[in-house]
């Protein structure tokens, strides 16, 4: 009767097993550091331009939206605070993560998926390497290191976008803007601004790899795995975002 629940429960179970193994492998030998650096390049350097651009425009848009509202209260000087808080708490982490999910969760799923359907994953196991150790753990480590960095960069570039609007349209001085932007941030904001990208990185890497590793059904299967990886990682990003926000709001 509850048969329709079986596939999602099974997938979740596989997810938990894969997570356990991938995390356990971080401290287990052998370590494939070359793969970690390669993945850091793919995820970090590769996503930098798009994350910067999106950060910039979200800062600009926030400032534009707020400019009118704040002017009616004569509170233009607070634009820096609003841009800073929304970026650090919410927009920076979530937008960066969704972009990286689109770029890299799909990339991981299609790469591992093609390896699966051409029996390269089986070959690895046959030739003495653990595919979780060699493929999943490096991606997990690289994502966990790069996503927080990307988020910090996106936050900062977003604030610069906000500053551009504040100075050109509201006539706010540089020191006014940046003092407001900086002083409004509390430890609590920084903590959630870093905890979020770290959690999202884990979701992106593990969901991307999970759907890659369980690909079946040839080239078509790779396409399905890629789509599923993006859909599910994005969904989980928003879900976990809500959980973390709820936690910090109650703090």
């Amino acid at each position: 009767m509850l048969d329709f629940l079986k596939p999602p429960i099974q997938t979740f179970q596989e997810f938990v097993v894969l997570s356990g193994r991938a995390v356990g492998n971080i401290v287990r030998r052998p370590h494939y550091s070359a793969d970690v650096f390669h993945q850091m390049d793919v995820i970090g350097v590769g996503s930098l331009p798009i994350c910067s651009m999106v950060g910039l425009f979200s800062g600009i848009v926030m400032a534009l939206q707020m400019a009118r509202a704040l002017t009616t209260y004569g509170a233009e000087s607070r634009v820096g605070e609003i841009v800073s808080i929304t970026l650090v708490r919410e927009l920076g982490p979530v937008l960066t993560a969704v972009l990286v999910a689109g770029r890299n969760a799909s990339g991981m799923a299609s790469e591992l998926g093609s390896m699966k359907v051409t029996e390269q994953i089986d070959a690895m196991r046959a030739l003495g390497t653990d595919p979780t150790q060699k493929l999943v753990t490096p991606r997990l480590i690289a994502a966990a290191l790069m996503l927080p960095l990307l988020t910090i960069i996106a936050d900062f570039i977003g604030m610069m976008g906000g500053y551009f609007i504040a100075s050109t349209q509201l006539g706010i001085t540089s020191s006014e803007y940046w003092t407001a932007a900086w002083q409004i941030l509390e430890y609590n904001d920084l903590a959630q601004g870093l905890l979020k990208p770290l959690s999202f990185a884990v979701i992106i890497a593990l969901v991307g790899c999970l759907y890659g590793m369980r690909t079946t059904g040839g080239t078509q299967g790779v396409g399905r795995a890629t789509t599923d990886a993006v859909v599910w990682s994005s969904l989980w990003i928003f879900f976990v975002d809500a959980l973390i926000t709820q936690f910090f709001v109650n703090l």
Partner: protein
């Protein structure tokens, strides 16, 4: 023959994927230096049979022995050491497309714990193995730059570089023209007869089975030749036929050719698939 002295032994092995039985109460065994030719329609469980034999897939029930050890419940780390003594050519190739030919062939030497302390350098072994398949000039090429037949030969080089006791070939001639297919079978016989390697070959070509059962490699001419009747090569070759996960026939070539079952007969004449 008791299970401990076999190279591969299946005892009543079953495995299902959802509703489809991939292996259905399969039992067979083979000893050192013997040959098995596995025929069967697409989806009859041939690939699964090979993967279960080396523990890449776990059966639902039954017992599997590899090189005399029971692997049914063995942990992956222990399996690595056993698999180091088995060479596998995968149906889909299984070559790492991010690595070049030389790196692909040296992969087992570098990653298998029990093989790392050889006295010959890996480079020499890789070169030797690629010379074995006559591809020594492709060391720095990537698999995507090779033809289908060359990729199979690189796969064979990677399977033989560790000098294993057992070789598994999954459809080595599928999708190849007859001349290239003949070259591949020649290499398989060469490995089998020069090193007396136990061999399981999955195929759908009647000719492949014929060559495996009746021919042997002649090191002087570098070609294959008909083996004399009653010689080790002809006696130690058995045919296995799979149908929907069941092993419906096991026997010598004579029994195979004399069998009247219509499904079995499909594989016992040239041009059949």
């Amino acid at each position: 023959m008791d299970a401990a002295s076999t190279i591969v032994c299946f005892e009543d092995v079953s495995l299902r994927f959802g509703d489809t039985p991939a292996l259905d109460h399969v039992s067979f065994q083979m000893g050192a230096g013997e040959t098995r030719v596995v025929f069967g329609a697409a989806g009859s469980g041939k690939t699964v049979l090979l993967k279960v034999a080396v523990g890449l897939v776990k059966p639902d029930s039954g017992r599997v022995f590899l090189l005399g050890q029971e692997i049914t419940c063995m942990r992956e780390t222990e399996l690595f050491d056993l698999r180091a003594r088995v060479g596998i050519l995968f149906q889909e190739g299984g070559l790492f497309d991010s690595l070049n030919v030389a790196e692909n062939v040296s992969y087992p030497l570098e990653n298998q714990r029990t093989l790392r302390s050889g006295n010959r350098s890996n480079e020499a072994r890789v070169r030797e193995s690629l010379e074995f398949v006559e591809l020594a000039h492709t060391l720095d090429k990537f698999p995507s730059e090779l033809s289908g037949g060359m990729r199979r030969r690189v796969g064979i080089a990677r399977a033989v570089v560790t000098e294993p006791a057992l070789e598994l070939y999954d459809s080595p001639t599928a999708g190849l023209d007859p001349i290239t297919a003949h070259t591949i079978i020649t290499l398989i016989l060469k490995e089998r007869d020069l090193r007396n390697t136990a061999t399981i070959m999955v195929t759908h070509r009647y000719q492949d089975g014929q060559l495996m059962a009746n021919f042997r490699y002649n090191p002087n001419s570098g070609e294959i030749e008909r083996a004399p009747r009653g010689s080790a090569e002809t006696v130690d070759t058995k045919f296995l036929i799979m149908q929907e996960g069941r092993l419906v026939f096991e026997g010598s070539e004579t029994e195979f050719l004399a069998n009247q079952d219509p499904y079995v007969r499909k594989f016992a004449r040239p041009g059949a698939s």
